[in-house]
């Protein structure tokens, strides 16, 4: 593992073992995250991006499990690490998460300061006073008044709570931060403010950031590298510039066209539905909805093929 790679994911498989069948939520995904790089993981509901995010901390809720592959952080394989190790050394110290719907991630019965202090007390062995000081120091960095340490979550607005979540994710100075739909529940102005915040923070704290969202517009605002997921598979990855300028995979193209613009009026959509992941089709999973589909697509699954400088797409069009 090179020195400039913060995260190396290889052929990751995450399945949900439900009693109506095995849902193959993530099926053989591979990518690398460089140090200080910002990667966007985009896709629509059910594509597996949130599951992928959780799996990076080995936090997939049951009946889900990592069913194969490797997740290397700092030379350690998260996928096979025992729970006790994960808790002691990895989670929150090396990699942390900003959850979707911050409103629910904060405990309503403890003050903000106490919740921020907790990871410091557990992992760094700080005393309560020391930890509260740290908490007060980090709050201005996310644009909040340090006096908030004495407030309860219900006293804060959605935007403020999300900022607290970001502060919590950064408090142990991890190398990698995963932000799962950090702005979905927020209004457009607050969303813009949070995105501004993420942009400034990633430089200040020198973190590698993974941003998970279905909203490609906010991806464009923040990420350097972009990966598109569909039905559990990664269909395209590349630098953000290349991807937006010249998307190669038909799904990416359709997705970008679907975004309404202010520059020209027009409504586009991709007809059809994503496949049932309990019984995925053979061949390319996008075949049913692809305007360029041909024979081979339905028979064989396309591997990631190089289509640009940094761009790879899993599509037989580029063989």
């Amino acid at each position: 593992m090179g020195n400039d790679v913060a995260l190396d994911v290889q052929e990751l498989k995450v399945y949900y073992y439900t009693y109506t069948g095995v849902v193959k939520a993530v099926e053989g995904v591979s990518f690398k995250l460089g140090k200080g790089e910002t990667l966007g993981l985009a896709g629509e509901s059910g594509c597996g991006k949130s599951t992928l995010g959780f799996s990076l901390m080995n936090l997939v809720p049951p009946p889900g499990k990592i069913a194969g592959g490797h997740i290397y952080i700092d030379g350690m394989d998260i996928a096979t690490m025992p729970e006790s190790e994960l808790r002691k050394n990895v989670r929150w110290k090396k990699i942390s998460m900003v959850f979707q719907g911050a409103m629910n991630a904060l405990t309503p019965v403890y003050k903000i300061g106490e919740q921020l202090a907790e990871p410091l007390m557990i992992h760094k062995g700080l005393s309560k006073e020391e930890a509260m000081e740290e908490a007060k120091n980090i709050l201005p960095k996310v644009g909040l008044d340090p006096a908030i340490v004495n407030r309860y979550p219900h006293e804060l607005s959605g935007g403020m709570k999300q900022r607290v979540m970001i502060a919590m994710a950064l408090i142990l100075r991890p190398d990698i931060v995963i932000a799962d739909e950090p702005t979905t529940a927020l209004d457009v102005i607050v969303q813009a403010q949070i995105l501004n915040l993420l942009k400034s923070l990633k430089n200040e704290f020198n973190i590698s950031l993974i941003l998970i969202s279905h909203d490609l517009s906010i991806m464009a605002e923040v990420v350097e590298k972009l990966a598109i997921m569909y039905a559990g598979k990664m269909v395209e990855i590349g630098s953000s510039d290349e991807m937006f300028a010249d998307p190669k995979h038909p799904y990416t193209q359709g997705l970008l066209k679907s975004i309404p613009k202010l520059t020209e009026k027009g409504l586009h959509y991709i007809p059809g539905q994503p496949p049932d992941l309990r019984n995925p089709p053979s061949g390319c999973r996008f075949a049913d909805r692809c305007p360029f589909v041909f024979d081979k697509c339905r028979r064989e699954e396309p591997p990631m093929l190089k289509v640009g400088d940094t761009q790879y797409a899993a599509c037989w069009l580029y063989e």
Binding site: E44, M160, D187, Q191, S200, M219, A220, M243, F244, L262
Partner: protein, 366 residues
């Protein structure tokens, strides 16, 4: 009721000074201490017109009162005060209204004032006023098949002479929203359909009654991006093919721009700006509108390094303790920059003024 004279025949619905306050529950102590009843001023004196066959978008952030406005217009809430003038062209509906109310309902020419009509007399009007909700997952009764769900409005309003005729109408409605094969879809239960499909069922359901006005409350917020257009196109068909006027409630300005004819911007219960879609997006006048437009994410990665300048301070204030004067002034950057109007902003509530043709702003800067 002089409002009526101002209306031209093209206006299908006009809200005048519409108010909806929600009383906050008081504890027993509050009552004993004779503390004044506090209200959430969700909708605070708004007025606007919706013309026949147009899409009017009501935009604003959460808590601005747009959803409450929509619910009040279709009389799922009773307005606290104000007028809702609704044009009733349909002879049949007029007749039924008169019958139901024993002639007590007042007609102002072609219009009735929905604020004056108690719930028990609303039934004939419900065919003309419809609403489509945000959540496709809980707006359809999970225990019934699509065809039974679609039968409901027809049965309730006694439309159709026979079950076969009704079934026919249902199939046609499903085809109109491109849910095909219609027979197959009609036989399914809601949980067998995707979010987008369910929303289109809701649109079909609204269509069945042949309405003249439909409120669509954030209908695509819970649907995937690549599938939203499918629902929006069906919604636009309502306007284009069936001449229905739509009040489209959303927080997404880009969508509003792409589908509507007119946009109204709400903040904390008041309309702050009103105009055509072009005017609002290309030339926003109110400081709040300007901040909203500035905040819209642009899918251009080259702008990645730009920290956006959004000219707004602080957080949205509560709808209970409304700031005096212009309710936006505590967050207004323009307020800071223009000391000459500060006195007015603090004390006087701004009214909507026409700044260019059809473009109105409520701001003391103008």
């Amino acid at each position: 009721m002089d409002y009526v004279e101002e209306l031209d025949g093209d206006t299908i619905l006009a809200a005048r000074d519409l108010v909806k306050y929600f009383p906050i529950r008081r504890s027993v102590l509050d009552v004993i201490a004779r503390r004044r009843q506090k209200f959430v001023r969700a909708v605070d004196h708004i007025s606007f017109d919706i013309k026949r066959g147009t899409i009017f978008s009501l935009v604003g952030e959460s808590g601005c009162g747009k959803t409450t406005t929509g619910m009040t217009l279709v009389r799922l809430y009773d307005p606290t005060s104000g007028h809702i003038l609704f044009k009733v062209d349909d002879e049949d509906v007029r007749r039924r209204l008169k019958e139901l109310s024993n002639g007590k309902i007042r007609f102002y020419g072609d219009y009735v004032n929905l604020s004056e009509i108690p719930s028990k007399w609303m039934k004939p009007l419900r065919t003309k006023l419809q609403i489509i909700f945000q959540d496709p997952y809980s707006s359809l009764n999970p225990a019934y098949r699509i065809r039974d769900i679609l039968m409901e409005p027809l049965i309730i309003h006694d439309i159709g002479e026979s079950p076969e005729e009704r079934y026919d109408k249902i199939l046609k409605a499903l085809e109109a929203v491109k849910l095909v094969p219609a027979e197959d879809i009609a036989n399914r239960f809601p949980h067998m359909l995707s979010g987008g499909q369910r929303q289109r069922v809701n649109i079909a359901k609204a269509l069945l009654l042949n309405p003249s006005f439909v409120v669509a409350d954030e209908p695509i917020a819970m649907i995937d991006v690549s599938l939203r257009a499918e629902v929006l196109l069906s919604l636009m068909d309502l306007k284009e093919k069936y001449g229905v006027s739509v009040l489209f409630i959303t927080h997404d300005l880009t969508i509003a721009y792409n589908i509507s004819d007119y946009i109204g911007v709400m903040y904390l219960g008041k309309l702050v700006e009103l105009g055509t879609a072009e005017q609002i997006i290309k030339n926003p006048l109110h400081p709040y509108t300007q901040a909203l437009v500035a905040a819209i994410p642009i899918p251009d990665p080259k702008r990645r390094h730009i920290i956006k300048d959004i000219r707004i301070k602080g957080e949205i204030t509560s709808a209970v303790n409304i700031p005096p004067g212009c309710r936006f002034h505590p967050r207004c950057v323009a307020y800071d920059e223009n000391p000459q109007v500060q006195e007015r902003c603090r004390t006087e509530v701004p009214e909507l003024i026409e700044v260019e043709k059809g473009h109105y702003v409520a701001c003391h800067l103008y």
